[in-house]
Amino acid sequence: MSTKLIFDGISRRFGTTVAAKDVTLAVKESEIFALLGPSGSGKTTLLRIAAGFEFPDTGTVTLGDREITALPPWDRPIGLMFQQYALFPHLDVRTNVAYGLLARRFRQAGLLERLQLLIGLRRRAWNDPEMLRLTDEALELVEIAHLAERRPANLSGGQQQRVALARALVTRPEVLLLDEPLSALDAGLRERVRAELRALKTKLGLTMIYVTHDQEEAFALADRIGVMLEGALVQVASPTELYRAPVSIEVAEFLRLPNRLPGEARVADGSLSVALEAGFALKMDAAACKPGGVTALIHPEEIHVLAAGSAEAKAAPAEGFTRVAATVVDTEFRGASVMVTLAVPNGTLFALVSSQEEGWRRREVLIEFRTMSVRLYPQGAGAATTLTGGE
């Protein structure tokens, strides 16, 4: 896949706030790229720079092989779907969808047609068979042809969302930007629209940049995810990779991964011994991390909970596994899985286990996890060095 939209060294500050810090990013053709970050992280600024509402202090934006850094929004073949949809309340659905075609026509038109278009939009639009066809196509694409004569105020949230999508797609933009477009929908509808957006990408081969603060949405929808923290793009990875191997403890924290345990790493007998403040130790490969203060990250689904006294618990742990005695203090039943809160000698751990297992129903348990699955982050430093490898 070739690259479609390239941000090269983009920086933008507003007064003393740095909204984008030297961001370099290449979005590939026909991918859904999610920009993920907490509010105020600069993801919307980057989106607005792509759309042409903001202009970077330094750096360039390239679309295909054309530099578009300083182009006004109306000169960019880029569509944008707004958070609250921004449908024109005074125009019916059909005219809303045709708006982009009319606006483009206006710029190419001669003086007389320009005047006509300034006087009114409707007649001009409906007397042009090509425009009518494109509009109907867009309406049918998102299955709202039957709503064409309605005003936006008379539509439900989901219908408005479809109109906004049709309006953004009718001009066949090369890139579609989406600014948290699902945040105004309820949970059930959100899942359906996500599936439809994925189907749309396959159907149209569209490049999409999707801004969200919701990691589940990014995981569910995106081919790749870029995580932004405090104006900087800190990690670009596929959803699985991002989840498995966050590049820093800050990213792990933003992804709300629990079990971030501080400790001290020491080299002993050619291997690394990590004494965690939680009250147990990990024996790891010497190459895992430099000695010193570290934070260990244990994914909750890696942790198995064994009932104390069961046959499994009586057997010795397998090679490469760490075992710790723990007490179940709380369980949160989630249907297929259970989130178990565990007290270990000097701290708390969370384990996500299958609800079919038995161990979590007891009080006194042993927990067990693959030592290799633990990721170590040196304290006070940026990137992680780990066994399970980054990019």
């Binding site: 202009f55 880029i78 569509g79 707004f82 921004a86 024109f88 606006a103 483009r104 953004a168």
Partner: protein, 580 residues
Amino acid sequence: MATHRVRRRGRGLRIGLWFYLVIALLIPLVTLIVVAFTSQPVNPVNALLAGKPHLILDLLRQFSAEPVIEVFQTARYRQALGNSIALSLSVALIATIGGTLVAFATLKPGVPGRRTWWLLSALPLAIPPFLGAIGFKLLAGRGGLLPKMLDPLGFDWPADAVYSFGGVILVQVVTLMPVVTLGVRAALQRLDQALGEAAFTLGATPSVVLPTVTLPLLLPSLGAGFLLVFMRSFGDFATPLILLPPSKKLLIVEAYKDLTGGLFWAEAAIQSILIILIVMAAMALERRMLKGRDYHSLGHRAGSSSEGSVFGELRLPSAPRSTWGERLLALVSGGIFTVPILLILSMLLLALTASWGDSPFPDALTLLNLSRVTVTSPRPLVITLIASILTILVSLALGSLAAYLLRRQPGKGDSLLEFGLNMPMVLPGIALGIGMIAAFNAPPLAFHPSAFLLILAYVLTRTPNALESVGAAMHQLPTSLEEASATLGGIPLFTQRHVLAPLLEPALTSAAVMIFFSVANDISLTLLLAPTLFTPASISLYHEMDSGRLYLAAAYGVVLFLFTAIPYIWQTWRQSRATG
């Protein structure tokens, strides 16, 4: 770079607006000050433009506080100042109390005739003080309706009482009260119902909630209403001009007389400055009162009070249909609204009167008066129409342009620009008119007297209406709509036409109606600035009144009232249809 292009275009328009403010506002104000301190009707800018900068130095050398001190030592002026302040304070106090009572009467479900009071509460909006004073004189003054009807019945109507401070207070209270009524009513509706309900659950009865919760929450609106009425009353020239005998002094009338009667430039200028300073102080106080005191936006959804319950009240199933208090409210409202209705009816009856002898009723009715002012000699009305329409066009253009720049392309010095554009709204016409005459009566900027200067003065004082209306609408309009248009390929002109203009249209229309109404009924600027060949209907009405041709004056009054009432009703109807 696109950003730069956009910014530069904004800058050109900004410079244009500044230029306009300097010519129309700053030069007259500076001239007022120069005149006040030098007693010379000389405009320093003219000297500069004429290439004689040394004249400015001469002028500066003549600066002295003597004229000002002299004015303050003169008993006539001191008396006028005291009278003006006392009058406007009384008007503001009475209007605030009355307006608040009517606001409650329009909302409380138990008040008999609640909907009628609500409909009538907007009626005085179509009667500016000018028409109110004319109507009052036609109703109760010498040769008016009441003496004509009552004298033959042997009842001696005290017509002379009309020509007094009491008469002025009555007219101003009736015509300015809607400012309070509408403001307090809106504030009352916006209050969060939960606050009143919280007080109930804590054991407070409605009679406790009213003084402890409701009124404190309404205080900013009451204060703002009080000050707005004070400002309007203080700057109102029409009512005292028509009702006050020469023996009774008011600052605004004395300023006018000093200029037109004896060309006492310094005295007129000093009084104008005094009027402006007092009005500006009231405005600053009003702004401060409203600032940060908006309790409505604490995050809770306000309950809708129009659904049959008022904030801080609870209708129990055992409650009577109307309590005594509610009946009293209805009575007060009825009494208050009798006056504007009578004013209009008397204007109408006198406009239709051919002659009236010694009987309680006219001898004969005729349409001649009305046809004379509209068909036979329509010139004044045509001039009113031309002046209003020109003012509307220019004011709307300036106001929209300024609103767009201030709300969409903020830049340096915006707060000063906005202040300069808004300030003329409260500038009393007499003060501004005196400044303009002083500033523009000599070449090279010899605009006075001309229709151009009159329209410029109208535009200056009415543009704030447009700016306020369009600015508020634009503020509520999410910028994402314009951005959506831009990403869809709409260049600014296309966006302005098809997104901004249709969505701002209601705001533009309502500003246009307001401007039309206030220009058609303007007397202060018009009396000072209108050239002989360009005299609008308000002047004709004043002259007919002055020379005792009451039936013709009444005919003009009726037509001017229709001029204002019809667009107003049309616009209200449109709005209510749009909101369903």
